[in-house]
Symmetry: C2
Subunit: 155 residues, 2 copies
């Protein structure tokens, strides 16, 4: 894909103002300042102290939004972003590596939800009065369960 031109992205290489980035990423400027305060993003300043963003920040912010929609906290996201190279703009491979991390996490969460989906009726409707001991609510302790398949422990 050759170089692209868009309405909210200024000429190649130019820095963006906070509201340009905000519009571009569909996020509030207050959220951008907040993210910066939390160390998730950064910017340079004009002589008059206004923020200016490198265009690569747009991707970074997009990634933050995807990660959030996966249910990650800003703290977790910040930790992941911290693994990106500080001194150069992240490459596609850098981003891929990051996404692989989340892919695995996501996979597990999907599996848990599928278990929940498939047993929701059985679990809610069954005589199982204590979810504390129900496999569905405790996917971690697989020790007790012998064999596969759903299992709702009755008292």
């Amino acid at each position: 894909m050759p170089n692209q031109s868009s309405s909210t992205l200024p000429n190649d290489g130019a820095l963006m103002t906070i509201s340009e980035v905000a519009q571009r990423c569909d996020i509030a400027t207050s959220a951008l300042r907040f993210y910066e305060q939390r160390g998730l993003i950064f910017s340079t300043r004009t002589s008059g102290n206004q923020r200016r963003y490198h265009s690569s920040m747009v991707r970074r912010i997009s990634v933050i939004k995807v990660a959030q929609s996966l249910g990650l906290s800003l703290e977790q996201i910040a930790a992941a972003l911290a693994t990106l190279p500080k001194q150069r703009t992240p490459t596609q491979e850098d981003w891929q590596r990051l996404s692989q991390l989340w892919h695995d996490d996501l996979q597990q969460r999907i599996e848990q939800m599928q278990r929940l989906r498939d047993n929701l009726g059985g679990c809610i409707g069954c005589g199982c009065l204590s979810l504390k001991r129900c496999q569905l609510m405790n996917p971690d302790d697989s020790a007790a369960g012998a064999g596969a398949g759903p299992r709702y422990l009755l008292d």
Copy 2:
């Protein structure tokens, strides 16, 4: 299954104290009072004003916890619980109907997560600078997209 006996459940038909319920459901007593305040659960009172719970409350609370793990807010859960019969203890069918509601919701959320999982690398790594226009982030507006399969809108 015949009648059961457990350490935290008193004789059949007896009312439970708040800490018995708390232990049984693996939840804090403060949370139970909070739920009652929000109308999710209820109890009777002793002459001395202490709460006593009908054993069916245990299932109700378990359902609240499952629903929470599905990502529903207490408000949404309260709305669902409000559809249960007020004057009698909910039957298995009542609970089944409720779980069916959540099953469908869960199914959609799983599908969205799967899309996200399958395209995470592509989306994050691709030239798509604006998730605002990326199908992945906007599963709602399927209008623009013709045909199936992943789609990351490049600028």
